[in-house]
Amino acid sequence: MEIVPYVLLSLGAVFCAYKAVRSPRLLASALYLAVVSALVSVMLFLLGATEVAVIELSVGAGLVTVLLVYALSMVGEDTQDPPSYIPKPLAFVLVVVAAGLVGWMTLPMLPLPQATRDLLLVDVLWKQRALDVWIQIALIFSGVLGILGLLTESQTVTEDEIEPEALEPVSAVIAHQEAGWRKAEAASEAEVRS
């Protein structure tokens, strides 16, 4: 009876993952992905990996979904998923072979021993694998810099697109005004001479 919640969560996660792949609308795909992330984080919590579950729920279901919705709001929802070049039966057969190999090679590997919680995540992460923490910090900074660079580049692109169109009418207006002034000057000179 211990495995019943895991089975239910697994069925829900796989179903939502399939819906995320097959959904024609990108917003629905993003929301199904958030549901998959939430279900996986509940499974991680039940497995005892509470810290990873919290990170997965906040980052996977929260931040990534917000980013996807933001990108979709910039791109527009009109981008339908075109049909694939690979025939779907061939893709299905390939995937069944790959997933079957994963299960076939992993399942008979070892029976489930009693998990010994000898080292906590905090100890491992800060003492044994401190390099991982530095890599994570570097990754976060590189991500922030990349986003800043790409967003500022998009602003300059829009300005470049606007400038030539905007300058032409202004120069035309100035030329028109100058022509008017010359006419007025010529008319005043003619009056003075007469």
């Binding site: 697994s10 980052v59 996977g60």
Partner: protein
């Protein structure tokens, strides 16, 4: 059927669905979604492997690192997709590659 079997079957199913989506998808943003699905299964696999091998801390540590790295990948990929959409007007990968001239 033990708990380990259920979890491994879940990992294999999520991996299969993600690979299937990666094969049939041509939209750039959809590819980011499918990559996220793949990474979910990998995170679950690492935590299960750590728990099974008797060193849960190492598995959880690697899983946390994977989550951070994958989030950065998603961020940069989405920003690139937005830029591609602004410059090329499409998110379809074959059309982008044919526009290269």
């Amino acid at each position: 059927m033990t708990l380990f079997n259920v979890l491994i079957v879940t990992v294999a199913c999520l991996l299969g669905v993600g690979l299937y989506g990666l094969l049939i998808t041509r939209n750039l943003i959809k590819i980011v979604v499918v990559l996220q699905l793949l990474v979910k299964s990998v995170v679950l696999a690492f935590v299960v492997a750590g728990k099974v091998s008797g060193h849960p801390g190492i598995g959880e540590s690697v899983a946390a690192t994977i989550i951070v790295a994958d989030t950065i990948v998603a961020v940069v990929a989405l920003a690139l997709a937005v830029q591609v959409r602004i410059r090329f007007g499409t998110l379809d990968i074959p059309k982008i590659s044919s526009l290269r001239g």
